[in-house]
């Protein structure tokens, strides 16, 4: 089709959708809509992971982000009863300055990373590293200690969240 393979078409469509939903996250006025658009962005990024054959990460991404974190956001927004009327707005001058600063940052990032096509390419056909089997071997052989530390971090975050969120006893 027009000289592009199906993978390139999928990449283009997913990128367009991810960027569009990302912009909608920033510019929609209702916080609940922002959360839903962010979920759509995460689904597009999971599609990118699938395109790169990182199946484990794609599933974990959907389960952790779309399933857990965004639901937490949604609960908090509903708890605070936020909607368009209570939404604070910055002045136009701040928004314009933010957009200009972001554009300049994009310019610098793209300009500095443009030459990376000379990197040594080392792909042997279709890659298999994203499968659960290979990733699990690496995770539990080379990264066992960081894995345990991450579990302690999650436990600490759990205790901390409960302790902070608790009503003070007077």
């Amino acid at each position: 089709m027009l000289g592009y393979t199906i993978t390139q078409w999928l990449f283009g469509i997913l990128s367009f959708l991810a960027i569009m939903f990302g912009l909608l996250v920033v510019f929609s006025r209702n916080p609940v809509n922002s959360v839903l658009y962010l979920v759509m962005t995460f689904f597009c990024i999971a599609g990118h992971y699938l395109l790169m054959n990182a199946q484990f990460l794609a599933i974990v991404h959907i389960v952790v982000y779309a399933g857990a974190i965004m639901v937490l956001f949604l609960f908090i927004i509903m708890l605070m009863n936020l909607n368009e009327d209570t939404e604070p707005q910055k002045t136009w001058i701040t928004k314009i300055i933010a957009a200009v600063a972001g554009g300049l940052m994009l310019f610098v990032l793209v300009g500095s990373l443009k030459g990376s096509e000379q990197l040594a390419l080392n792909v042997h056909g279709s890659t298999q590293i994203g499968l659960v089997k290979n990733l699990g071997v690496v995770l539990f052989k080379d990264f066992l200690f960081p894995f345990e530390i991450a579990s302690i971090l999650l436990l600490a975050a759990l205790v901390g969240a409960i302790l902070i969120g608790k009503k003070e006893v007077k």
């Binding site: 990128s15 990302g22 790169m52 956001f73 708890l79 936020l82 990376s116 590293i129 901390g160």
Partner: protein, 103 residues
């Protein structure tokens, strides 16, 4: 090339997503939206890590993404607890009202 897609396109996509997140942090006053934009920036970096890991056929990049997800989950749990506490005390999460440390 990853399946016929140059790594430059992945760099461009990640940079654009990262910039969208940072514009959101700069242009919005709602703390929860700012939090969500930080998540978007984290995801842009994750995407770049996965694409380079696929490019070099090295699984360590994807393991690193896995750890970033764990840290992000912990960060969101604590951050949202703090935000709900702030809301309980100040009755707002507008960042302009949260300048008590200044005076």
């Amino acid at each position: 090339m990853i399946n016929g897609i140059s790594i430059n396109y992945y760099i461009l996509l990640s940079a654009i997503l990262f910039i969208i997140g940072s514009i959101g942090v700069m242009a919005r006053r709602n703390s929860i939206i700012i939090f969500m934009c930080i998540e978007l920036m984290l995801n842009a970096v994750n995407l770049l890590l996965v694409s380079f890991s696929t490019l070099h056929n090295d699984a360590r990049g994807q393991v690193f993404v896995f750890f970033i997800m764990a840290v992000a989950a912990a960060e969101v749990a604590v951050g949202l607890a703090i935000l709900s506490m702030i809301y309980r005390n100040v009755k707002s999460i507008d960042t302009h009202l949260l300048n008590n440390l200044k005076n």
